[in-house]
Amino acid sequence: MNRVRILLVTAAIAVGIGLWFAFTAPVDRLQGEFSRIVNIHAPFLWVAFLAFGVTALASIMWLVKKTRGWDRLGEASAELGVVFTVAGLFTGMVWGQAVWGRAWDWGDARLATTAVMLFVYVGYLALRRATPDPEMRARRSAILGAVAVVQVPLVYFSVYMFRTLHQTPSIRPDGATMPEEMLVALLVNFLAITYLYFALLMARLYVARAEEAVMVDGSLAGDAVKPPRLSEVEDV
C-alpha cells in the first residue's frame, strides 16, 4: 500500500470517528438536531481558508523560486478549497433554512463574501485552464493566488464588521459559546477534516505528478501538426 493510500484510508477512519462524535454529542435546546451541522459546516470552511492560505503561500513561493512544485501545490490546494467551500455553503444553507427560515440572503455579509470568495477561486481554476503555456499559467495564477487570499480575512471578519444574519464564531480567544461535550465533538471534527484535506492534497499532488510524467517532454496534442510552408506552395 503506498503512502497516499494509507493517508486516504486513515483520513476515512478519522472522518468516521468525527461522525460518531457528531451524532452522539448533545444537541442545542433551541435548534435541536440541526445544531449537529456545526460539526461539518465550520470545519469545512476552516479547511477552505487553510487551502486558500496554502495557495497564497505556494503562489508567493513560485514568484520567488519559479519551480514547478510550488505551482502544482497552489493549484492542488485551490481546487480543494473550492470543493470545501461548496460543501461549507451547502451545509450552511440547510442550517440557515432550518434556523433562520431562509437558505440564502445576499444582504448577509458572511454569505455574500463567501460566495464572492468561491467565484474568485473558480475563476483562478478557469484561468489556469485557459492558459496553455505552463510558464505563463504559473505566473498568472501565482499573481492571482497571492492577491485573492485577502478575501479570507474579509470573510472571517465580515461578521464583526457588519451586523447581519450570520452569528459570530462559536470558538473565540476568550472561550467557547457551547457546552464541553459539543465543543469536544466539534474539535474532533476540526482535526478529522483538516487531516482529510491534507490526505486529499497529497493525493492531488500525486495525480499531478503522474500526469506530468506522461507529458514528460511538455508536448501537447496539437504539437504534432506542423504549419503549412506557404513559400514552398508558391514555388510550385
Binding site: R36, I40, V83, A87, F90, T91, A98, A203, V207
Partner: protein, 34 residues
C-alpha cells in the same frame, strides 16, 4: 421530513461531494497510468 433525516442527508451529500472529488482523482490517475 423529520429533522434527523434532513441532518443525515446533509452529512451524506456533503461527504458524497468530497468522495466524488476523490473518485475523479482516481480516474485521472488511472488515465495517466494507462
Amino acid at each position: 421530513m423529520s429533522d434527523e433525516l434532513i441532518v443525515i442527508g446533509t452529512f451524506v451529500l456533503s461527504y458524497a461531494l468530497i468522495i466524488g472529488y476523490a473518485a475523479r482523482l482516481h480516474l485521472r490517475l488511472r488515465r495517466a497510468k494507462d
